[in-house]
Symmetry: D3
């Protein structure tokens, strides 16, 4: 998915921050899926399992789920050059895989630009909330990975000469 050949020659001479102008792009249905993996030390995972994934702060996965949805909606306020988008849907699903909590975040909208950052931000805020709900148990919890799983709705190559359209 990488674009080794892409040049960076059109950069503003002062290297100043610049939002992409999406005014000429078509409004299409855009979707994106991202995931975050929260890794618990084995004894913490076992302890959480025995407790039904509830800590003194409440039901870990439920609180994280809600925080993730609200985080996805806050993306354009957090990421400086992101466009504000009216999301049609944000769904977060958190499951346990061995000692890990796996956060999957799917986002969709009708818009002129993709929703990758919304999906990644939703997954990240959910993962941070899992950490917060469990940190009294251990500070060795790690968010082990946040990555994009897929996206649809943009035109390949239309933005920057290569790669999935931004």
């Amino acid at each position: 998915m990488t674009a080794a050949a892409q040049t960076l020659s059109h950069v503003d001479e002062a290297n100043r921050p610049a939002m992409v102008d999406v005014g000429a792009k078509a409004v299409t249905r855009r979707t994106a899926q991202a995931q975050a993996r929260v890794r618990f030390p084995p004894e913490v995972a076992a302890q959480l399992h025995r407790a039904g994934h509830v800590t003194t702060k409440g039901a870990v996965l439920t609180v994280a789920n809600i925080a993730g949805v609200m985080g996805a909606k806050a993306t354009a306020q957090l990421i400086p050059l992101c466009h504000p988008l009216a999301l049609d849907h944000c769904h977060i699903d958190i499951t346990m895989q061995g000692d890990d909590a796996l956060v999957a975040c799917s986002v969709s909208c009708q818009g002129r630009t993709g929703v990758e950052m919304e999906a990644l931000t939703g997954a990240s805020v959910a993962a941070l909330t899992i950490y917060d709900m469990c940190k009294a148990l251990s500070h060795d919890i790690v968010i082990a990975e946040i990555r994009l799983l897929g996206k649809t709705g943009g035109k390949r190559g239309i933005d920057h000469g290569a790669g999935p359209a931004a």
Copy 2:
């Protein structure tokens, strides 16, 4: 740092979300340090290196730095059960380590509870911003790890019977 022996027996019978009451804790100087690692595919890392870490959206590390500071300040609005804290300082330092960008975020305040979540949130928002600044080059960029490096200012065992004080 884990607290295998800690029990979860004091959980509210309805498992409802519950903020920790920090009213009886002492105001002390609290610090925390967290890091996030952003992993670029090798050809993307090489391309960024040649371009001075500037993309069509601007100077990647500078924009990420600012976003991280603002993200740390927004922590209590993002993480449902976090306490609002008046931060004295938030410093973000981003360096390249091989093909990775390494975000270090240090936070301090005078308060009744720790600033781990502020440090982790600052690092996460900076990492997400790096992704956003570079996503036109590749969607194979991964946030490979977000973790706490250290914290000071809380009393061990004061909160939940074990582990680093929250």
Copy 3:
């Protein structure tokens, strides 16, 4: 308007929070009207009347009106599973009815989902602001009722099998 026969059988097996996906709904003009009633103790109502509804904090109804409009615009940030919507209009009208202040909030947009929550939130924030502007006079002020008055623009039965479309 109630839907006694509606079943809740499609609930996610984990009972996790889930935003409604509105991506397949039509964009139509949506309107909603809500009201909030703030009840003053008689002597406070009389005192406010003599003072032209001005307290040491300013003109009560005007400040509440503005707060209500801004509150309506903040709905998607406050209510976890609400969709962000670009409102075309929010109008707040506050009148005195006997000892009560009656807040009427009308909202409209072109969108894929209704604006009930925006109307209710606008009315609520206006009512809370009335309380704040007058609380030095009495803490026996009560927000006596917040309710939806009407809505247009959704299709009956299209969402959940019964009742006004959400």
Copy 4:
């Protein structure tokens, strides 16, 4: 608790909005408790009871609880003349009483002004969220009452000549 004798004579001649200056007040522990009552039509209450208070949008009371805590933290952004306060604690407890959901919100901080508005706002946002979670079942749900239950930490009469300190 009302202050019939209080005069409004010190009002700014232009009736302009004016925040209270709390700079000369003592920092003390402040608490406040508020409640909101959400009234369901009987058949909706019965339906929710049978479903374990879960709708297609998730566990009603849990989502409302979290929204209420976040709402209490957002008070100074919503109510124009409220002071920003670093809350030590916000606890929300929601119980069913017959056909009603009863939201109790307790807030505390160490500060120069009371936390009534935070308690009332937390209760209100939780109540609005209950409405949102259930509105596909009925739009005849009503928030029947929002009121202050108690407060501690201010000095009677210190603010405006009468009534509980603001």
Copy 5:
């Protein structure tokens, strides 16, 4: 551009705040350009020039640029009667003109109302940030002017009987 003949006779009898209803307006491409001028005392301008416009807080113009873009996106949260708009683009360009920093802010969207306030707010927040980045050098820095340069996309006279469409 002024509309001397416009009457104010249709004002609500209570002079209450009222958002304009844009529901009947056409969705068109809207653009606006604004500028802000920050005036430095000559010795401060000289000092900044020698330092490459970097202070102890970082690269002045870059931080201001980012803050301006984020400020433009926050317009509807700051200006009470502004409509929320999904911006397609916000570009900020800051140049030095003699002893002044000149901020140019261009905004565009597809919407039912103009983006003047977004352009003006973006320019203002960038100018305030320049002040903040440099205030350790002098408090005699002044934001000497903020003005609209142009706008397109509205219909003359359609809104209020005269003047550029709002």
Copy 6:
């Protein structure tokens, strides 16, 4: 008030954005006063005067006043490197001076850093709101000046070697 002799030699080698660490500063009462001047074309000023400074959007100066107070409270969310501060007071007074509206904003808090940016931001948001309330009359309205009038509570020279303490 300028500090011509101040050097910029302590700049981070990478010129990266850096918040000032205020953790070692004393908590003192801090105040700041700023003003903004909004210049109306003469015929617009005359028209506003005849209309009692009310437009179709409501009472201009009252809405601007409230927006300014809320803007001052939002300073740390708008200006990237500002510290969050719990303001004790923000007072905005707007008067007409010939054809100009003059916004005076006074802010105070007990804190470790000054409140200049809060006073300047409050004045700026009030001025922008005046523009928004009147822009249907003319787009030749200009914010002619935003400046700091005074500040107290910091120690001269403690921060950066010269000039008023930041």
